[in-house]
């Protein structure tokens, strides 16, 4: 008489496992197509390079750009300051240079020094 309530022996359980074990199932074209579609949808893409929006350039910005931006403006400021300084307080070396170019200063007078009123004709 079969004892239906007695638990399966190791042999019987192994037979159940063996029945279930088997060759890998065929994926089938439809299922494969679904899996490939997932890949196409998931493929990582590099972040697109978005060109920066061209800004509207005003008059001041145009001048600023024409001067060479901050670098150009810095150079211009330094040159202006140097020119102003030379004008206010010229170095001694520069005096002798101007003497060479313009010569010594000459004072001319059309009246005698002691006839300030010009009465003596």
């Amino acid at each position: 008489m079969t004892d239906l309530n007695k638990e399966l022996s190791d042999l019987e359980l192994d037979a159940v496992f063996a029945t279930v074990r088997g060759a890998e199932p065929d994926l089938g074209d439809d299922f494969m197509a679904r899996l490939f579609a997932d890949i196409d949808a998931q493929v990582p893409v590099a972040a697109p390079i978005v060109p920066s929006k061209p800004a509207r350039i005003g008059l001041i910005a145009s001048l600023f750009a024409a001067l060479g931006g901050w670098a150009g403006l810095g150079g211009l400021t330094a040159a202006t300051a140097a020119g102003l300084w030379i004008g206010i307080s010229p170095p001694t070396a520069l005096d002798s240079v101007s003497s060479v170019i313009w010569g010594d200063s000459l004072t001319l007078s059309v009246v005698a020094a002691d006839d300030v009123l010009g009465l003596e004709g």
């Binding site: 239906l4 309530n5 019987e12 359980l13 159940v16 199932p25 899996l35």
Partner: protein
């Protein structure tokens, strides 16, 4: 095999996954061709349901594509990772069945059929085993399935389940005993009629 796959012949799974992370779809397709049949087999052996098994494999592979950008080659085997995810997704579904069906119902033996064909026995065994796995605690079901349905060794199962080999041995032993007890009620249906 597809001509497009030739350039990857011999490339390890991890390298293919990294190639996919760099935008190469062909690498992922080859990985699918390599891994999906085994994953589908694993799911079907646990669930005995083709449609559900396909959903599990699709979900597992989707997760794989999502982790691809963070994958570190050499840290883990893609196949080990996939075994783990498929096993987890299957036990999730078995747990849902357990809740919706109830243990009494799934353990109910069918009428004793004296002469059933070999195919019917095979079908009955698959269904009975799936039902029985659903009745086990998740970790026991996973360990038993990986050991006795997938035929993996304990060290590999330990790696998949991220537990010790001793814990695997304990889970499989307890799981087997529980299965033997649960299936006892369906002996005749399973084709066992020892006198």
């Amino acid at each position: 095999m597809d001509m497009a796959f030739d350039q990857y012949a011999g490339a390890p799974d991890g390298a293919l996954l990294i190639a996919f992370a760099n935008g190469d779809q062909t690498a992922a397709r080859l990985l699918t061709v390599r891994l999906a049949p085994r994953a589908l087999g694993q799911a079907m052996r646990m669930l005995s349901d083709r449609a559900e098994s396909e959903d599990v494999v699709q979900e597992a592979l989707l997760r794989l594509w999502k982790v691809a950008p963070d994958w570190r080659q050499g840290e883990a085997q893609v196949s080990t990772w996939l075994y783990r995810v498929v096993a987890n997704l299957c036990t999730d579904r078995l747990r849902r069945r357990r809740r919706s069906v109830g243990l009494d119902e799934i353990a109910e033996p069918e009428d004793d059929v004296p002469s059933v064909s070999e195919q019917m026995v095979a079908s009955a065994r698959m269904q009975a085993l799936t039902d029985a796995l659903a009745a086990l605690p998740d970790r026991q079901a996973q360990a038993v399935a990986l050991r006795h349905l997938e035929g993996l060794g304990n060290p590999e199962i330990a790696e998949i389940m991220e537990i010790s080999v001793e814990a695997v041995e304990s889970l499989t032993a307890r799981g087997k005993r529980a299965l033997a007890a649960i299936l006892a009620e369906r002996k005749a249906e399973l084709g066992f009629s020892d006198d």
